[in-house]
Symmetry: C2
């Protein structure tokens, strides 16, 4: 039996803890060809998604994928993210959570370096999904 990463178990744990405490779980994702996310909300190759029950529909978090649908600028969109692209899970309100190390694909990095930057979304637009700058902790947090 090959060892499965504990990451999906911790993502689910933080989501459950958020749900029980009225917090909003934010999922940080490193965008790659395998991620299906709204490109206009990607910043510096990363997107932060509100995966609370009130912001998503049909949310599933299995050991390989996180999938749901959500509204972005009023338009419903399917989102799917492979677990290996998840770079963090944390509570919006407290910042408590985990940051994960993502293996860097040198070919993808080269492509990212040579592709022109995406246009940034207009900050005055209505955003159904919250977007955040970088409230996720850069290190794992000590549990008290």
């Amino acid at each position: 039996m090959s060892e499965q990463s504990a990451k999906p178990y911790l993502v689910r744990a933080i989501c459950e803890w958020c749900a029980d405490n009225g917090f909003t779980p934010y999922l940080a994702v490193k965008v790659s060809p395998q991620t299906r996310v709204p490109p206009s909300f990607v910043k510096n190759g990363e997107i932060v998604l509100n995966i609370s029950p009130s912001a998503t529909r049909k949310l599933t978090i299995d050991n390989e994928w996180i999938q749901f649908s959500a509204r972005f600028n009023g338009v419903s969109q399917e989102v799917s993210v492979p677990m290996n692209a998840v770079s963090g899970i944390f509570a919006k309100e407290t910042g408590y959570g985990f940051a994960f190390t993502i293996a860097t694909d040198p070919v993808a990095s080269l492509a990212a370096a040579t592709v022109p930057k995406q246009l940034q979304p207009n900050d005055t637009e209505t955003k159904d999904q919250d977007t955040v700058k970088s409230r996720r902790p850069s290190h794992l947090q000590i549990i008290k």
Copy 2:
């Protein structure tokens, strides 16, 4: 709503990850008047308990308590541990898991300092429960 510690969620997460990967979850506990554990296996105020399904019966992990029965030296015993006494959860086979900071009660510390040491268990005894020295990591682990 007061914030509930994420610790029980992470303990359950690591237990589920262990179960799915064939690992043995070891629970490290700081012994206190609230803990109900076999005293002869306590070392330096701490006990490490195998909480795998094969070593325990009626295991429950709720947000306040971990409870189960297990055999120690052939004798079934009820074990109960308040969540705030849990100092770690990790896989026996890999050491992967979490160490938690335990608030020190100054009164309890004083009592511990003035009470004679417990007799150590005879190492040649049959141990139904595994006991370990200190394989748990001293810090939170980076998730890869």
